[in-house]
């Protein structure tokens, strides 16, 4: 089958995004190469094509062709179908939109944001990774990238509630808090769902899940399908408005947090009528309010900062606060916090099958970090990181442990001390 590559549609998308602030970034790049060593894909592969600045070439080309000064002369080359084919792998498979390169860039160029917007051009051109696109389409058509329809959600939640002997409210007519789920958790890490339920029940929160808006992940955004991205946001907004929720909790999923917390209001063109908190932020609030009662966790652990929650999300300190006085043998990795290395599977890369080998290479950075830290287990607060790391762990037969922060906290709950 031959694919018709619509380079003009792609160019229009590129230009639509350089109408605004992204233009300065494209004009400001010094081609100094400092971003290369900050990118886990470059460091893992040592292939110059994985240099972050290089990923911007097609959009910069479209911009140069159409904007001052060469636009006047019509001299600059056009974006070609070959360009789009060549760069597809670089903008999808080998960019997790982790934001680390921006920290190293002397101009402060926000490559992650540009990649997020530029992916739309591949959709317009009729190119892009089929499996990532299928995940996005499934979200629109079935409610979730893994095909969790509302009916399936109901069944699954009943099963998890039974299995873990925990009450999981679904479709309560009114609640203060709407909890959303990543289908990675619903299908692959059900313990995580049960853990959140236990914690919220323990703290006496008025909360519910909703079949109207339950999927936290936004593969529309990751795939560059802006219409699906908006639909996914609207579902959550409608569900939250329906039950009068003041807070929407994003579960352990980094990009879900990034999209709903920082981009959703711009997608729907109005401020969100509720606050958005990542589960670690919400648990930190409960802890501050004295509503979390935990026994100590004594195993040697380290914490993997999910890029969208820490570096690009600003919730770095809350995870540390949760670990403080709880994880008694806690070790930081080097680098850590906002400078942490990405898991290699964010930004939709986890859903791209052909990128598996690259992800495994990236995971070597993580294995090395954990081993040097002295910890035995790497704890994360993102189920997508966890899935990526679980697969890579199996690939390398790594003997380090991987765990979820929320699950660990739930496992260490103690009943409220008698006052």
């Amino acid at each position: 089958m031959t694919t018709v590559i619509d380079r003009n549609a792609a160019t229009r998308k590129f230009l639509a995004h350089t109408e605004g602030h992204l233009a300065t970034y494209l004009e400001g790049c010094l081609h100094c190469g400092l971003c290369a060593e900050a990118c886990h894909f470059y460091v893992a592969s040592r292939d110059p094509k994985h240099t972050p600045a290089y990923k911007l070439f097609p959009i910069a080309k479209a911009h140069r062709r159409n904007k001052f000064p060469l636009a006047l002369l019509g001299l600059a080359p056009r974006v070609s179908a070959e360009d789009l084919q060549h760069w597809e792998e670089l903008l999808f498979d080998s960019c997790t939109m982790c934001g680390r390169c921006t920290m190293a860039c002397p101009m402060g160029i926000d490559i992650a944001s540009i990649v997020g917007e530029a992916r739309q051009a591949w959709v317009a051109a009729g190119l892009g990774p089929a499996d990532l696109f299928a995940a996005a389409d499934s979200s629109r058509d079935h409610g979730s990238p893994l095909g969790v329809t509302p009916e399936k959600l109901r069944e699954r939640i009943e099963w998890i509630a039974d299995e873990h002997e925990v009450e999981i409210p679904l479709d309560r007519p009114k609640a203060d808090v709407l909890l959303t789920l990543s289908s990675v958790e619903t299908m692959k890490y059900p313990d995580s769902v049960a853990s959140m339920a236990k914690l919220l029940n323990h703290a006496g929160v008025s909360w519910t899940l909703s079949t109207k808006g339950y999927e936290a992940t936004n593969f529309g955004y990751l795939a560059g399908k802006a219409d699906i991205a908006k639909t996914m946001v609207q579902r959550i907004v409608a569900a939250a408005e329906g039950i009068g929720a003041k807070t929407v909790i994003i579960p352990e999923c980094g990009h879900a947090f990034g999209v709903l917390r920082w981009s959703a209001s711009n997608m729907i063109g109005r401020p969100l009528p509720f606050e958005v908190l990542h589960i670690t932020e919400y648990l930190a609030q409960l802890k501050r309010a004295g509503k979390l009662h935990l026994k100590p966790l004594t195993e040697p652990i380290t914490y993997h900062d999910p890029c969208q929650i820490s570096r690009r999300g600003g919730a770095t300190a809350d995870a540390r606060y949760l670990l403080q006085d709880f994880a008694t043998d806690f070790h930081e990795m080097t680098p850590t916090g906002n400078e942490n290395w990405c898991c290699g599977g964010g930004g939709g890369v986890q859903a791209i099958g052909r990128a598996a080998n690259l992800r495994y290479q990236v995971f070597k950075l993580k294995m090395d970090q954990v081993e040097k830290s002295g910890a035995k287990t790497m704890v994360s607060a993102c189920s997508n990181c966890r899935l990526t790391m679980d697969e890579s762990k199996a690939h390398w037969k790594w003997d380090g442990g991987l765990a979820s922060l929320v699950e660990l906290i739930a496992e260490h709950l103690v009943e409220k001390p008698a006052s």
């Binding site: 109408e19 605004g20 602030h21 233009a23 300065t24 970034y25 004009e27 400001g28 790049c29 010094l30 081609h31 100094c32 190469g33 400092l34 290369a36 060593e37 900050a38 470059y42 110059p48 094509k49 240099t51 600045a53 290089y54 070439f57 001052f68 000064p69 934001g99 921006t102 920290m103 190293a104 860039c105 002397p106 101009m107 402060g108 160029i109 926000d110 944001s113 917390r261 920082w262 981009s263 959703a264 209001s265 711009n266 063109g269 109005r270 401020p271 969100l272 606050e275 820490s310 570096r311 690009r312 999300g313 600003g314 919730a315 770095t316 680098p335 906002n338 400078e339």
Partner: protein, 219 residues
């Protein structure tokens, strides 16, 4: 009109006009683009946009520890080159006299020996930067004609200036004219190529800093 008259007169005047209008046009062009409004609610702890921008700008003055090793050469060499250029341009007595004749302001000059050393150091760092561009596979891949030409127009005034003060190879007047013409070339190219980073750095760093300081993070 001698070559020197031409260089001193029309060449510098025209190039300076191109520089001024070009830079103003490009900066205005970018600033006047529609900047999308961010409707997300900033963190309570987020600083004001100005404070965020200043903090973010300062944060990028020197690489973080995590990147320091890999960035050391480029950063140190970059600073040496920029400071060297500044010393040679603003500290050299004849430059100050010339600027005074045009703009009417003046300041004390630096000893000419120091200026010569700074110019030679600048030249060395420019050569190292170019060498790095040639040998590093990453830089080879991402370098464009703009990078090489911008290097060339930056190096030319340094070389011609050094030649002029040391009266090398040609009569002083000719060397001075060539030096002034090389400056004219630099000024004309400035708004069109990557030398614009001297202005854009304020825009890009602030833009990123404001974007992320709302989120409670500094990138």
């Amino acid at each position: 009109m001698t070559l020197l008259d031409f260089a001193r007169g029309p060449a510098l005047a025209v190039s300076f006009a191109v520089f001024t209008f070009g830079v103003a046009w490009r900066v205005l062009f970018l600033v006047l683009l529609p900047w999308s409004r961010d409707r997300s609610v900033a963190r309570g702890s987020a600083p004001s946009a100005v404070v965020g921008a200043v903090r973010g700008f300062a944060r990028h003055l020197w690489p973080r520890k995590a990147f320091a090793g890999a960035a050391r050469f480029t950063t140190v060499n970059g600073y040496v080159m920029h400071f060297g250029l500044a010393i040679a341009f603003f500290g050299f007595a004849p430059h100050i006299l010339f600027l005074q004749s045009v703009f009417g302001v003046h300041w004390p000059n630096l000893p000419s020996g120091l200026v010569s050393v700074a110019s030679v150091v600048t030249l060395v760092s420019l050569v190292l930067a170019l060498g790095h561009r040639f040998v590093s596979p990453v830089l080879r891949l991402i370098s464009t004609a703009n990078d090489y030409f911008s290097w060339f127009v930056t190096a030319l005034p340094v070389v011609s200036g050094l030649m002029a003060v040391s009266h090398l190879w040609a009569p002083y007047e000719t060397l001075l004219a060539v030096h002034l013409l090389s400056v004219a070339l630099l000024l004309i190219w400035f708004p069109f190529g990557k030398l614009m980073h001297a202005f854009l750095v304020f825009v890009t760093r602030s833009e990123t800093a404001i974007h992320y300081s709302r989120r409670g993070t500094v990138l």
